[in-house]
């Protein structure tokens, strides 16, 4: 009968190692795999929406084109650049963590938060333009929130195409809304990680939380990389 000798550092230091792991390597592997598996789950979560999108875009190509033309590709383009820039700052944050430079982690993470908030701010104005008319506010007609008040008159489509453009806007709000929700959840987490980094919790040996939150943020970026052409660029020609 044999067993492994005492687990190195298990009980000795209160460091980052949790009691049920043998060593930091195992803990890192678990955390990293956990996030990848979570991302796999997210792929299918958004996947249901993308599948719905595919079916309806195939069925109603004109309505989708009309709905898309009313979205501003310039705003979408700007936001795409903002989001990939935030991915760069996040990658640099993880890079600094791997080098063990705590202060730089904080700076890069704060930059990421700034860019993420910028994206959400632009999104807010984009939404407002479509939502405000539903409550009689803003510039004239054109409520584009699906539902009873949906008003396709601003889209210049045949009357009978209105329900189909409504499907487009249902998908637009569901997809971008869910994407924005992921960012809204992500930002406080990054802030929390930045706080921990500022207090010197991470080192070149142990900075997995930074890596993990980075994976999450990059994934949210990838979703947007697909949303941008699929929603904003149908038939801009």
């Amino acid at each position: 009968m044999s067993e492994v000798s005492s687990r190195p550092g298990a009980a000795a230091s209160p460091g980052p190692l949790q009691h049920h792991f043998a060593d930091l390597k195992q803990q890192k592997a678990a955390a990293s795999l956990g996030m990848w598996v979570f991302i796999a789950q997210e792929v299918l979560f958004f996947g249901g929406l993308f599948a719905t999108y595919t079916v309806y875009r195939m069925t109603y190509p004109e309505a989708f084109s009309a709905g898309s033309q009313h979205l501003s590709w310039k705003i979408g383009f700007f936001n795409t650049l903002v989001l990939i820039a935030s991915s760069l700052t996040m990658a640099m944050g993880v890079h600094s963590a791997a080098l063990g430079r705590a202060k730089r982690i904080v700076a890069w993470l704060l930059a990421t938060i700034f860019l993420g908030s910028l994206f959400l701010g632009v999104k807010y104005f984009e939404y407002e333009e479509k939502i405000a008319p539903c409550f009689g506010l803003g510039a004239g007609p054109g409520c584009l929130v699906p539902g009873e008040r949906f008003d396709a008159s601003v889209l210049h489509v045949a009357v009978d195409m209105a329900p189909q453009t409504q499907i487009f806007y249902s998908l637009y709000f569901a997809m971008t809304g869910l994407h924005a929700l992921h960012m809204i959840i992500g930002i406080p987490i990054i802030l929390w990680i930045a706080h921990a980094a500022w207090r010197g919790r991470y080192s070149a040996e142990w900075h997995t939380p930074v890596e993990i939150v980075g994976l999450y943020w990059h994934f949210v970026d990838i979703i947007w990389i697909f949303l941008f052409p699929l929603l904003y660029l149908i038939g801009t020609h």
């Binding site: 049920h20 795999l33 299918l44 709000f173």
Partner: protein, 550 residues
């Protein structure tokens, strides 16, 4: 335990409970509600899903009571529709899908692979809270206005026409879905990264393989139903247009998205049960499992093929005839790995040393019921016969054979097998066997007549029915009464055993596997020292190893 002589051979003196174990590692409600110990979380889940099982069972009793008479005079149609919906929603989302993974899986996987806990203990606790919150939402909707859509939530009925509390239930199921996802995530990561030295992939107990396959479905299937049910809630609450044909939507698309998860969900229910059966049949045949790798790989095959066959629920929906053919062909493929498992289990018993203790009684029951359930699936995957049979009582009988006959027999067999490990005490063997037989008899009496009803053409979800169906319905209700009594017994003698049972000893069945090498109940950290695995799984030719935990 009547035949617990194996344990006595190891410890000549009478068994005693260990001084320190996870159950007495802390007292008070905080030590339970804030625990991160996978074993305690398993107990939390055990209590919660038992409550849901009782609730779902009461609804089932109401269904059978209503169907005693053909004219539906026992309750109004509105009530009946709410009753069968509640039965389906509670049993599927809050009992069957979690059942084995969250209790036995949660308790045993770390023990079986020689780990101190699951990889993410706090996420494990979180998943229980998520489950409870989801259940609270759903129960609130069931008790306030009720839910009358059936568990399938077909649009546009659910989104436009239903006069009941659909949105709340949908949100509850959406939330509960994440409990399932988090559990699956925890299992996958734990099995990948936390195995003890020497525990290679092909030394893993088949119970672990089955849970690995299950976790894949939980992670890749559940999010799709979550988003779909969220779209239903959006359509219901804010009149978004996704599936409403009056606004250009396609209700059949909802069915595609719904069954993409809800068909594989059947395998979430049955795969862990198959894992339990593999453990039990080797132990009580005292023999290495026949064709280990074929059984392990068949679990993976079932998980993957299970994702390719969902539209066999939709053959009469007006979907493409050609697409229906593809789905039918793929459906038949899933029959093969299931058949392989049954043949291998049978072969395991060949020239074994078979003892008929309570868990083994459930194994016999499982194989019998699973055979009927699985083989009747051949009728429903078949394009020719499915047209007549779909949406009739034949389907009801078929999926109850799989999900109740299969999954719950496995669940009860597993509970009886690991009970001495979980609580450290034995139960009455005599009552155990009687209950197993009662459940088997009652079950067949309840559901065999329903196959006939279905072929005769009685549609499911009927509150009243033509008179010629009454005889079979009365027979079915009588069977349900026996089944109910059969389920009542274990809840009594198991609770009694928890308090008054004899200490069981570390390995009362003489079983192989790391979970039997620690104390019963196990210590809070499972093993005093990390075990090292030197044998293949189920090395019953060798004597059991000494306990690690003592």
């Amino acid at each position: 335990m009547n035949q617990g002589t194996e344990a006595k051979a190891m410890t000549p003196e009478a068994n005693t409970l260990p001084k320190e174990h996870y159950l007495n590692a802390g007292y008070g409600w905080k030590s339970w509600l804030l625990t991160t110990d996978h074993k305690r979380i398993a107990i939390l889940y055990l209590v919660s899903i038992s409550v849901m099982f009782v609730l779902g069972g009461l609804y089932a009793a109401l269904i059978r009571w209503n169907l005693l008479v053909p004219d539906g005079s026992h309750m109004s149609a509105e009530t009946y529709n709410r009753v069968f919906t509640a039965h389906g929603v509670i049993m599927i989302f809050f009992f069957l899908i979690p059942s084995i993974p969250v209790t036995l899986g949660n308790f045993l996987i770390p023990l079986m692979i020689g780990a101190r806990d699951l990889a993410f203990p706090r996420i494990n606790l979180l998943s229980w809270y998520v489950y409870v919150i989801g259940a609270a939402f759903t129960l609130y909707s069931l008790f306030s206005g009720g839910l009358d859509t059936g568990w399938t939530f077909y649009t546009p009925y659910s989104t436009v026409f239903a006069q009941s509390n659909v949105a709340f239930a949908a949100i509850g199921i959406f939330i509960a879905g994440f409990s399932s996802i988090l559990t699956g995530l925890n299992f996958i990561v734990t099995i990948h990264t936390m195995r003890a030295p020497g525990m290679t992939w092909f030394r893993l107990p088949l119970f672990v393989w089955a849970h690995y396959a299950t976790a894949i479905i939980q992670i890749l299937g559940t999010p799709v139903v979550a988003i779909t049910i969220l779209l239903v809630a959006l359509e219901r609450l804010f009149h978004f247009g996704f599936f409403d044909p009056a606004r250009g939507g396609d209700p059949i698309l909802f069915q595609h998205l719904f069954w993409f998860y809800s068909h594989p969900a059947v395998y979430i229910m049955i795969l862990p049960s198959m894992g339990v059966i593999s453990e039990l049949i080797t132990c009580f045949s005292r023999k290495r499992i026949f064709g280990y790798s074929f059984i392990a790989m068949s679990s993976m095959a079932i998980a993957v093929i299970g994702f390719l066959i969902w539209a066999h629920h939709m053959f009469v929906s007006g979907m493409s005839v050609y697409s229906a053919m593809i789905f039918s062909a793929l459906t038949y493929l899933v029959a093969i790995p299931s058949a392989v498992k049954v043949f291998n289990w049978t072969a395991t018993m060949f020239r074994g040393s078979i003892s008929w203790e309570t868990p083994m009684m459930y194994v016999f029951g499982f194989i019998g019921l699973f055979l009927i359930g699985g083989l009747t699936g051949l009728f429903l995957g078949n394009l020719g016969t499915d047209v007549h049979l779909t949406d009739t009582y034949f389907v009801v009988a078929h999926f109850h054979y799989i999900m109740v006959g299969g999954a719950i027999m496995g669940y009860l067999g597993g509970i009886h097998f690991w009970w001495p490990k979980i609580f450290g005490r034995t139960y009455s063997e005599w009552w155990g066997r009687i209950s197993a037989v009662l459940i088997f008899v009652g079950f067949n009496m309840t559901f065999l007549p329903q196959f006939l009803l279905g072929y005769l053409g009685m549609p499911r979800r009927y509150h009243a029915y033509p008179e010629e169906f009454q005889v079979l319905n009365v027979l079915s209700t009588a069977g349900a009464l026996i089944l109910g009594i059969g389920y009542l017994f274990p809840s009594l003698y198991l609770v009694y055993s928890m308090v008054k049972g004899e200490p069981a000893g570390n390995n009362p069945w003489g079983a192989r596997g790391l979970e039997w090498e620690t104390t019963s109940p196990p210590p809070a950290h499972n093993f005093e020292r990390t075990p090292v695995v030197e044998d293949e799984a189920y090395a019953y030719d060798k004597a059991p190893r000494e306990a690690f935990g003592v």
